[in-house]
């Protein structure tokens, strides 16, 4: 089936079997392999993408269901080659990762939270990433990364507002 996907602001036409998951389609047909397969049954969150701004499991969606929606993958967050977004940079600052496998999904879950609020409580951060399993970090430095990014974004907004 021919499907038109809007991925990271770019329209991509792909021809896929109806049974192909959105995860496999993004990785193999669109060529964006920053999204990862973890459990392939919707528990671990490694395959998280943003669909119209909301975090969803790309392993539980078919590619054909993505037609007409705005999809954001981890590759869509970097402002430019070699440049990090505020949240990505915060993950580097707190070392909110180790092996990096869950990290793209974790960052997109955090991104969705920061799109809703720039003053998240610890409990809100924990809730936002509670559908994403990290086996390396024990989550502490991930929570710190999201809190740090929120703080920096608030400061940047104040500055922009004051200027």
């Amino acid at each position: 089936m021919r499907v038109e996907l809007s991925v990271n602001g770019r329209t991509v036409a792909v021809d896929v079997e109806p049974r192909r998951t959105l995860l496999d389609c993004l990785r193999e047909d669109v060529g964006l392999d920053g999204t990862h397969a973890g459990c392939e049954h919707g528990v671990c969150g490694a395959c998280t993408i943003l669909l119209d701004g909301e975090p969803v499991r790309s392993c539980l969606m078919l590619a054909v269901q993505g037609d007409g929606h705005a999809i954001t993958t981890i590759e869509g967050l970097s402002p430019g080659p070699g440049e990090l977004s505020v949240l990505q940079d915060a993950f580097c600052e707190t070392h909110g990762l180790q092996c990096g496998y869950c990290t793209p999904g974790m960052i997109l879950a955090g991104q969705a939270l920061l799109a809703r609020t720039l003053s998240p409580s610890r409990a809100e951060i924990v809730e936002a990433i509670s559908g994403n399993i990290c086996r390396c970090t024990g989550y502490g430095q991930i929570v710190e990364a999201i809190a740090l990014a929120a703080q920096r974004l608030r400061a940047a907004n104040r500055k922009a507002g004051g200027a």
Partner: protein, 805 residues
Amino acid sequence: MAQPASFKYVSRKRRVREDRRFVSGQATFVSDVTPAGTLHAAVVTSPYACARIAAIDASEALAMPGVHLVVGGQDLAAATDPLLVGVDAPLVIRYPLAVDRARYAGEWVAAVVADSRALAEDAREKIRIDYEPLPFLLDGEAAYKADSTPVHPDHGSNVLLDKRFVWGDVDEAFAAAPHKGAYRVKWGRSATVPIETFGVVASWDPWREMLDVWASIQMPKFADQIARALRMPLNGVRVHQDVDVGGSYGVKRGIKHAVLAGYLSRRLSRPVKLIEDRLENMCGGDMHGPERVFDVELAFDGAGLVHAMRMRALDNVGAYAGRSPLQLGKPVGSIVGPYRIGAVAYHAIAVTTNKTPQEAVRGFGQSPTNYAIETGIDRVAEALALDRLEVRRRNFIRAEEFPYLIPSGTTYDSGDYHTVVAKTLDRLGWEALVAERDRLRTTGQLAGIGVASCLEPSGGNSSFEPLLNTKNTTTTWMESCRIMVDALGAITLTIHTTSSGQGHETLAATVAGEVLQIDPDRIRVVRATSLESLPSNSPVGSRMAIMLGGAVHHAAGQVRDKLIAIAAHRLGAPASALRYRDGGVEHPASGRAMEWIDLATIAHRHFHLLPPGMAPGLAFDHILQVPTGLELPTPDGRVQMYPCFSFEFHVVLVAIDPEIGKPQIRRYVIGHDCGTVINPDIVRGMTLGGIAHGIGAALLEEFAYDGEGQLVAQSFMDYLLPSAHEVPEVEIVHHVTPSPNTVLGQKGSGESGYLGAPAALSSAINDAVRPLGIRFEVLPMRISAIGDAIAEAVRRQETSKGASR
């Protein structure tokens, strides 16, 4: 040894250089590697715990368009050699695919290769396998009985390992002791379960006669084992070590995966990719961890001093051996924990059953043993009505007693356990914590405080191999670094292993930067393929800070020494009169100096300016042997295990709603001493992650089987990994007792947290339920088990109250 305060880059907050590629989705995991022409494999697994494989009919599958090959165990066994067995059990034969008999549910029986993974999965549905189910065995104690049916009939029994050690006058100590206590605890079958499954791409080039391998692995001598099994010269296997590994913590050994993919690629002369799905991983990934029963007796006096211990540990390692029985050996190197227990008898038993085989799990058997020891220390305190902390303090080895020789022959390098405990208690406010527990108890909740103190042996020699298998005489366990300074003065380090999140590139650059006094951010770190590699044993046994850090330190030191020698020649002064600073060499007496770039230029371009006899260039290799464990074990089983011993002290407050049984962690503090820390963020992350993993092992995770031998925890719906909701905020109290055995005083931290968290949680929950007169002696302590036991105890109390009225 340099003092920590004098470090320029070591121990300082520095970003982890690897992180950029991961946060941007630009890392290269094995599933991202797809050479042109790649075919995809899937495996067919046994539905039975034990069955004879009567026939495999692949005709229908092979008739499907896009299906290239189907192989069974007999095909594979005819062309390859069996996988290595870690203990002396040569007839426990294992191939990547079952040969004639499947020995556990989920075992790989056949493999199919097709144009795509989806097609391979379609094709495997069409493969008809005739099985004749056979009787099976699941229980470890039953397997140890002489009349049990062997999982491997040719081996003749289910016993893979049955060794008794006696270190010191154990019987005498027991006879003399005024108090004795015996208990049994069980460690449930869990594992590290990385979020990335195993995967491998193997690509045979018949024209160059080279097998290229990309794999998600953390495996010493990985290429050796592939070459042996495939009957190839080792220089015909090239393992690409720049593949990012999505978590391992021990289990990513991947030998059977790589041998199978290599064989398939050689059959087809095409690249073959085999990426496990989660079901294949949980059932047949052969990565389960220890399933261990401990029977322990302690001999102690009225002051709570433990004089002797007898420990019997029986591990149910599943259907094949591999290296897993050796996980009973590593704990020998810290069999008394941080305590001055003078005599120990240890009986280590490993048996086969019809369960999934085990693999190395974080700590290599140490965390279960620590749980068994710590349970005993709590029991001693309980028996004597003494304070648990005071009993630990009385038994701890004192700071002035290091280096300290324990009965099993290992010398602990350094430690200051009393100070770490005091600092931790001071930080958390012990009295206030006790008051908070008691307050919780007045609110209708059960509440308990857990404590655990234990060691993390680090540095990773393999002395447990010759200890448990006298045919194995390996004493070499080295790690290496190559350093090159190029003609423009830039530094490149080559490391010789894969990494699975440990930050080795950052580690290497930081240490080289420290030695050369050059900003680590200017140092490049690359990874050699196995063919270009110096000897390495990969990041196992909490060894890389010690071993890679040590190799880098020595290699960089050789560069520094050569620069000084060149400068001495040019400046006409003895090397002893010169001072190396920030990459240049100064002669303080004359005020003259030479810059880094000038010296590098001389080394690369000006042979006529070099000291006579000096070779040109600025490149050095250093191969570092592990600092201790250089000898084979003594005949009576004494051995120097690892070189360094980190210490951790856990305190945890748990509240349990008696109606639900769910333990809620209210506070978690850990005192941690791993010597000199090279990167604080990395060590902190390891410790926090280890505690999270320990919470899983203590409360949630178990590869449970049903009565038919089927693994029932096959998915993440059933095998529960801790989420952000289950893992509390953890406070770390940091202390540094440098190791005398390492270049910077560093020790290991890769297993920290995990080694004591299960013991601490067990201690807390048992403290909580003690008023009910019950105990938990089996891990994991699941919510359902806690809830049921509390309900039963409450019922019993109410009944007896009613009866006494």
